[in-house]
């Protein structure tokens, strides 16, 4: 397990249209992928992404709905501007932009999320572990450290 890249996977709860996909993500995700389910990509504060990066994530995947198909009309539009800019900002201080990956899913994209995660994982394996900003002390059993 240890040689597999650690991936933080932020998923908008509305973006997987096929129940099979959602079921796979909810219960059969590989152990090196950590799922953070959010009500909308608009809920993803850049700080969440930073916490993942500081916590030692080698890659971050953000999946959401297509621009015009947001469940909350425009949450993903707000998210896209912020997170896009944030990933290039992280690149500026040394966290490779290729480690942040966006997946915008459509109705017919059944099964695509599995493919995207697999592709991304092999891409991150090539890049190697990300150590530049991984600074957080692992959480103690049962909660925060301070």
């Amino acid at each position: 397990m240890d040689n597999k890249p650690k991936i933080a996977f932020f998923q908008c709860q509305w973006c997987l249209y096929a129940p099979e996909d959602q079921e796979w993500v909810d219960s059969r995700l590989p152990e090196n992928i950590h799922l953070i389910k959010v009500p909308c990509t608009g809920r993803i504060d850049p700080l969440f992404v930073l916490n993942a990066v500081q916590g030692g994530a080698d890659g971050v995947v953000i999946s959401g709905c297509l621009p015009e198909k947001c469940h909350f009309k425009e949450g993903n539009l707000a998210a896209r501007r912020q997170l896009d800019s944030f990933s290039s900002f992280l690149d500026y201080i040394g966290y490779d932009q290729e480690r942040v990956h966006f997946v915008w899913l459509d109705l017919q994209d059944r099964g695509r999320i599995q493919r995207e995660l697999a592709d991304f994982e092999s891409q991150i394996s090539r890049l190697g572990p990300a150590e530049s900003l991984a600074t957080r002390v692992p959480l103690k059993e049962g909660g925060a450290n301070d």
Binding site: P46, L47, L50, N51, Q54, L66, P67, E68, E74, L77, A78, R80, R81, Q82, D84, S85, F86, S88, F89, L90, Y92, I93, G94, D96, H101, F102, V103, W104, R112, E116, S132, L133, T135, R136, V137, A144, N145, D146
Partner: protein, 322 residues
């Protein structure tokens, strides 16, 4: 008293005595050498303490959000302060009608640290003129060339003139060169990834988390900052690497499309940490992606608040990153 100071006092006295404003925000004579202090003048007699010179380092727009919305404020503004006021008006922190801006084209703020490095700390008096700063120390008098003492943000200043002042005092100055900020960001981008991280860590990890940068910044007016929030705690609150990195990254990122590059954060920092290379990068990104510069008018919403469906051509469609 310089000619400019006299003009400011006259205007401030007029605004107060005619009852056009409730308070004039400007600077008063300092208690510590080289550090004129922000001051709030509510009656004409106090105006004899008003000073203005190159060492007035604070961004006065910072105090805009500390008054109730209905207060009529007269404010001394230089180029950067005027842009900060504009950005705050866009964010509805005060209504423009209640503001009277006394604009001064700015010849640059003198970094007191650079002065002290040359003269030592025993400073008795100083005088700021167009090209020289004359400092009288205990044993010696120094005549220092002003241009070499300017704060680094002011050397890169693009708009030294107030853009929307109600009263303009002094001569308009030529605009600065926008390439200077751009070149600085680009030269940092040209470093290797490891060098960039090393520089960022070297700067951020000196941080003592005093939040002087936040207090000095006109755009940092949240009632509760993300670092003060403790249920849940979003970041480590100590001076650990994780805590200081998170503070520097997110503080800068919250300024995206709002920072006017006044450099007040760096001037306030007791540890002399470089921060503007972060905010300048975000400013450059906003210009490149959305042709937006913060504070140029008091109407246009910043990019993160003005998203539209037209963005969709930038979205990833069909598996390829746009």
């Amino acid at each position: 008293m310089t000619e400019l100071e006299a003009k400011i006092r006259t205007e401030a006295a007029r605004l107060l005595s005619e009852g056009l404003v409730d308070v004039v925000v400007a600077f008063r004579k300092e208690d510590a050498p080289l550090r004129p202090q922000p001051a709030f003048f509510t009656n004409v007699e106090d105006l004899e303490n008003l000073v203005y010179n190159g060492l007035c380092a604070n961004n006065l727009a910072n105090y805009l959000t500390r008054f109730p919305q209905e207060t009529r404020i007269g404010m001394l503004v230089r180029g950067c302060e005027n842009r900060s006021v504009n950005a705050l008006v866009v964010e509805k922190q005060h209504s423009r009608e209640k503001l009277t801006l006394i604009g001064i084209p700015c010849t640059g703020i003198i970094d007191w640290r650079k002065v002290v490095a040359l003269t030592g700390e025993d400073i008795l008096a100083y005088e700021d003129s167009a090209h020289t700063l004359t400092v009288r120390a205990r044993h010696q008098t120094f005549a220092l060339p002003r241009q070499e003492l300017l704060h680094s943000s002011c050397l890169r200043c693009v708009h030294p003139n107030p853009l929307s002042a109600d009263i303009l005092l002094g001569e308009m100055l030529p605009e600065g060169d926008p390439a200077l900020i751009r070149e600085r960001v680009e030269s940092f981008e040209a470093l290797t990834r490891a060098e960039r991280t090393a520089y960022f860590k070297q700067e951020a990890e000196r941080c003592i988390r005093c939040y002087a940068c936040r207090e000095a910044c006109p755009m940092c007016y949240c009632e509760e900052c993300f670092v003060d929030h403790n249920t849940p705690r979003w970041t480590e609150s100590g001076t650990t690497p994780a805590g200081t990195h998170a503070w520097h990254i997110i503080r800068a990122f919250h300024q995206t499309g709002r920072c006017t590059s006044c450099g007040a954060c760096e001037r306030a920092c007791p540890m002399d940490i470089q921060m503007t290379y972060l905010t300048d990068k975000l400013g450059k990104d906003m210009w490149d992606s959305y042709q937006f510069a913060a504070g140029m008018d008091d109407q246009t919403q910043p990019p993160f608040a003005s998203f539209t469906l037209d963005d969709k051509k930038h979205f990833q469609v069909g598996g390829k990153q746009s």
